[in-house]
């Protein structure tokens, strides 16, 4: 089943075209990564899907409904983690999470959610006394407290330390394993690469590539580089058939020093994709 279906989505702010004709299909249970540079239109797109922003044109279907017209109960099935954290007034972590749990009809257990985002120790702390990364974890907690079918995460790991980021990845995998559909935006290629089953790269309001992390931008078939150190120095060949090149090399010279076979990393592909768009 399709969780999100978007056709020809457009949005402009005055003279600025933020989203310029986007098509998206996200299947239920899928973790989908939306990757793009600053100002590419990620937040605009996601907030339209959440029903927070109005679109200029295009078809949008999220969990079977138009987010712009969806009834209140539709939000029971949606979880939102905004890009910027809210400055919450004088409440403690436990109070906020406990209160938000009451707004949903089938919430997760607040204590369990606090454990999941590792804020149990901060439960009695006022929000303004939290560190940036702890606030971010509170945002994530509020995104998942309603036990959503579809979770939007707009740059969720901003401000998290590497350790917290790794555990966040575990959390996402756990949610995905339970069948939650996840739409994640990020600048972090490594993060999207490990988490998302499918990735779309967005630049200047357009999707410039889409695929699995392995195949994105023709990465699976892209030219590989075989390098080794021979008697007369460093050798480099570029080839479409790296295995054969290595076999030939072995047949010819036996073991060689410093042998490496590299494919373009996702980062290379990504930079090329958004760079190519500059021209």
């Amino acid at each position: 089943m399709t969780a999100v279906r978007v056709r020809g989505l457009r949005k402009r702010y005055g003279g600025v075209v933020a989203v310029d004709g986007i098509d998206l299909d996200i299947q239920q249970g899928e973790v989908f990564g939306l990757l793009g540079p600053n100002g590419a239109g990620k937040t605009t797109t996601v907030e339209i899907l959440e029903g927070y922003r109005a679109r200029d044109s295009g078809e949008v279907d999220v969990l079977g409904m138009d987010p712009g017209k969806a009834p209140n109960s539709w939000r029971d099935r949606i979880g939102v983690v905004w890009q910027s954290t809210a400055d919450t007034p004088e409440l403690t972590v436990a109070e906020i999470i406990g209160n938000f749990a009451r707004y949903y009809r089938h919430p997760r257990d607040p204590g369990r959610v606090m454990e999941q985002v590792e804020l149990t120790e901060q439960a009695g702390k006022r929000v303004h006394a939290l560190s940036g990364g702890q606030r971010r974890r509170l945002d994530v907690a509020l995104g998942i407290i309603g036990d959503p079918d579809l979770l939007f995460l707009d740059e969720p790991t901003t401000g998290l330390d590497p350790e917290a980021r790794r555990r966040f990845a575990d959390l996402i995998r756990g949610l995905a394993a339970e069948g939650t559909t996840i739409l994640l935006t990020s600048h972090y290629l490594d993060e999207v690469e490990t988490l998302a089953g499918r990735i779309a790269v967005i630049a200047r309001g357009k999707i410039v590539a889409e695929g699995s992390p392995k195949t994105l931008g023709g990465r699976a078939t892209a030219v590989s580089t075989v390098q080794w150190v021979g008697e007369d120095g460093l050798h480099t060949i570029e080839t479409d058939t790296p295995a054969k090149a290595v076999a030939d090399l072995y047949a010819e010279s036996g073991e060689v020093a410093g042998l490496t076979v590299t494919r373009p990393t996702l980062e290379d592909v990504y930079l090329k994709l958004i760079g190519a768009d500059d021209e």
Binding site: M1, T2, Y52, W82, T85, D87, E90, L91, N99, Y104
Partner: protein, 292 residues
């Protein structure tokens, strides 16, 4: 002519849709229940926010202590002091501060800093939010008035009425005054363009109204044209209603028309309540200024 032939297999082609809004019918009870939850939450937030308490909750108390201590003369031929007039009138200030001033600023801040946005993304019924605001304002207002009356009685010769009649007047003046100011506060919260400007934008009309409506300056010292001007706004009528409760019939001669005009008090306050509600419905924004 354009009639279509219905094919037997057509139902199978339509993808199944998620269940329709099966909770819609239970909505009113849910809104009320969550509204009460939010009332508790809002009240707690109010009393934890020290700036709010100082700025919104204490302003009438501070003004009462200062003004009623400075001006203590007795009106000629009457058993009423200026202090007493202040003590009665400043109840209007207190009500306006905890409703108009409080909501006008706090909702604007909430909107600008992302609190409202967070709420709209949840299935909380919007009405629960407003019930929470109104409920907490009511609680805060009751506490505010108890404190003002306590100080007035203890230090400034304010006399609590012994008959039931004035108390009934007190109840409806309080309820209508609070309701109108609450609606206007919610509506006014849409005016400031950012959290930073909210306090200034909301406080200016608040303070000006205090002066022209005879709360910070005894209404007996104001020129008629100013009192006539302030008659357009609810504060003058709110203060006038409160004076009728606490100063007694004898002091009615101090009023502009020599009468407390309770009928007009009711009419103006009710009109502002309804008008304010309409204004809220037309202008309330859940989104911040940057979101279109």
């Amino acid at each position: 002519m354009s009639e279509r032939v219905t094919l037997p297999s057509v139902t199978e082609e339509r993808p199944p849709r998620p269940a329709p809004d099966r909770f819609a019918r239970a909505e009113p009870g849910r809104a009320l229940r969550l509204g009460l939850v939010r009332t508790g939450l809002e009240t707690r937030m109010f009393f934890r926010e020290k700036d709010q308490i100082a700025f919104v909750f204490s302003i009438a108390v501070v003004m009462l202590v200062i003004l009623a201590s400075i001006f203590t003369t007795r009106y000629r031929g009457l058993d009423v002091t200026v202090s007493q007039v202040y003590a009665a009138g400043l109840i209007g200030t207190g009500i306006m501060a905890v409703s108009f001033q409080n909501l006008g600023i706090s909702i604007a801040v909430e909107r600008d800093l992302g609190g409202l946005r967070r709420l709209v993304a949840t299935p909380m019924p919007p009405s629960a939010y407003f019930i929470g605001k109104v409920g907490s304002v009511f609680i805060v207002a009751v506490i505010q008035i108890a404190i003002l009356l306590g100080i007035g009685v203890a230090f400034f010769d304010l006399e609590l009425p012994s008959a039931i009649g004035p108390w009934l007047t007190f109840v409806w003046v309080f309820v209508l005054g609070l309701a109108s100011m609450t609606m206007l506060g919610i509506a006014a919260s849409s005016v400031p363009r950012s959290a930073r400007s909210a306090t200034a934008v909301i406080t200016l009309p608040f303070v000006v109204l205090q002066f022209v409506s005879g709360a910070f300056i005894p209404h007996t010292d104001l020129p008629d044209w100013l009192l006539n001007l302030s008659a357009v706004f609810p504060l003058k009528w709110l203060c006038q209603g409160m004076r009728s409760v606490f100063l007694g019939e004898e002091a009615a001669v101090l009023e502009l028309t020599g009468d407390y005009e309770l009928g007009r008090v009711a009419l103006v306050l009710a009109a502002w309540t309804v008008g304010g509600l309409v204004l809220c419905l037309l202008t309330f924004r859940w989104k911040d200024n940057r979101t279109k």
